[in-house]
């Protein structure tokens, strides 16, 4: 079975955390957001009106403030007990957030989970 990376919103992070009750085969997810803060090896993305997500960057991650990025990463606990974050495996720069309506992404997330059979294997 090949690696699947479900597209999610910040509110779904819990469901993909390794400790969550469901025995998920994957904790690797995709999430879309605008880079809103960069602090050393951490960054924050803002996911439309769905809140922020803290990213733990790789040494070779190159993010730019204000860009829309898609992150592939693993859901993980943040070091300082500040809840959940995403350990980055890779990012894709999609440029100016103004070129994309975040609500479209919300619909995509909704569709991919509601009609799961064509996107992801059942848990």
């Amino acid at each position: 079975m090949s690696l699947q990376t479900p597209r999610i919103l910040p509110s779904h992070l819990n469901a993909f955390h390794p400790s969550s009750s469901g025995q998920r085969s994957t904790h690797t997810i995709r999430i879309l957001g605008t880079v809103s803060a960069l602090r050393g090896d951490h960054a924050t993305i803002t996911c439309g009106k769905n809140g922020d997500v803290t990213l733990i960057l790789k040494p070779d991650s190159h993010l730019q403030m204000g860009k829309l990025i898609e992150v592939v990463g693993k859901v993980t606990d943040l070091d300082d007990g500040q809840g959940l974050g995403v350990r980055v495996l890779g990012t894709t720069d999609w440029g100016n957030p103004a070129d994309s309506d975040y609500r479209t992404y919300e619909q995509v997330v909704e569709a991919t989970h509601r009609f799961k059979s064509i996107f992801y294997d059942a848990e």
Binding site: D99, T104, Q107, V108, A111, T112, F115, I118
Partner: protein
């Protein structure tokens, strides 16, 4: 003057006609069925899950035959050989290999992607997104895509649109057309609903039905739903049920007869659905 005019004629008329014939034959001649020539937006998982009823049979997704597929994903690997370029494409639902044959004649046109520096805009890059259009193939039990085109994708809206489109098409095949109330409403409504109404009909007749007129579909639907004996229904009866002129019903019936969807029973104006 005269000669020039004649020249023009032979080039314009004769040449053009021949060309048209030539371009038509490769697409029409090769494949058995023109209706197969669909281009369906899919996810990689759908390609992996596609079934093939028997060896060498066309693949099916959601019970519908697929020939060409269209999908988007991130390029995870590019390997260039002398005859083809193999990409590994990951769209978050799975991974699949995509082979694009290198046409030596157009080997250095913009269609190929040599990895050297060049016009970065038209190049498929590692970990970048690409849009692939090709046919599902398999070799030694391994599924791959024989690509007609692999091109870079730079607008995220295209990605989202694709995923939603794939969902919409999946739902069309599994649940029928959007907003289709029930089978009853479909046949009477125009446009899309009629197309989708065919969803409810038997598999083999599906395709044939798509090509007949709306009125013919209406008659088919009446024959399908109206209680009747083995002899089917008579022309006048159908006309009065549908509240339509006999002439129109006769013409549409002819269409269904010719398409092999219905057959005449007791006499030439009594029809029943041909089930097979």
């Amino acid at each position: 003057m005269d000669g020039g005019y004649n020249n023009y004629n032979s080039f314009g008329g004769g040449g053009g006609g021949f060309m048209a014939g030539e371009t038509n034959s490769p697409s029409g001649g090769k494949t058995d069925n023109r209706d197969n020539k669909t281009l369906r937006p899919v996810t990689v998982k759908q390609i992996a899950d596609a079934t093939s009823p028997y060896p060498e049979a066309p693949y099916q997704i959601d019970g519908a035959e697929v020939n060409n597929v269209l999908f988007v994903g991130q390029v995870r690997n590019i390997s260039s050989q002398s005859t083809n370029i193999t990409y590994k494409i990951d769209d978050g639902t799975g991974e699949i290999e995509v082979k694009k044959w290198v046409d030596s004649a157009t080997g250095d046109s913009m269609d190929t992607d040599e990895k050297g520096p060049g016009d970065g805009k038209m190049e498929v890059v590692l970990n970048g997104y690409a849009r692939v259009f090709g046919a599902i193939k398999s070799f030694a039990n391994k599924r791959y895509i024989g690509a007609h085109s692999v091109r870079p994708m730079t607008n995220i809206n295209e990605l989202h649109c694709h995923l939603l489109e794939a969902t919409a098409v999946h739902l069309f095949f599994t649940r029928g057309p959007p907003g289709g109330a029930g089978a009853g409403g479909n046949a009477a409504a125009g446009g899309d609903a009629v197309m989708g109404g065919a969803e409810d009909y038997g598999g083999g007749q599906n395709k044939a039905l798509l090509s007949v007129s709306p009125l013919a579909k209406k008659i088919y639907h009446l024959l399908k739903t109206e209680p009747q004996d083995d002899a089917g229904m008579e022309l006048q009866h159908i006309a009065s049920k549908l509240n339509l002129p006999t002439m129109d019903v006769a013409r549409a019936g002819e269409e269904l007869l010719n398409a092999g969807i219905i057959f005449s029973t007791m006499n030439e104006h009594t029809w029943a659905i041909l089930e097979y």
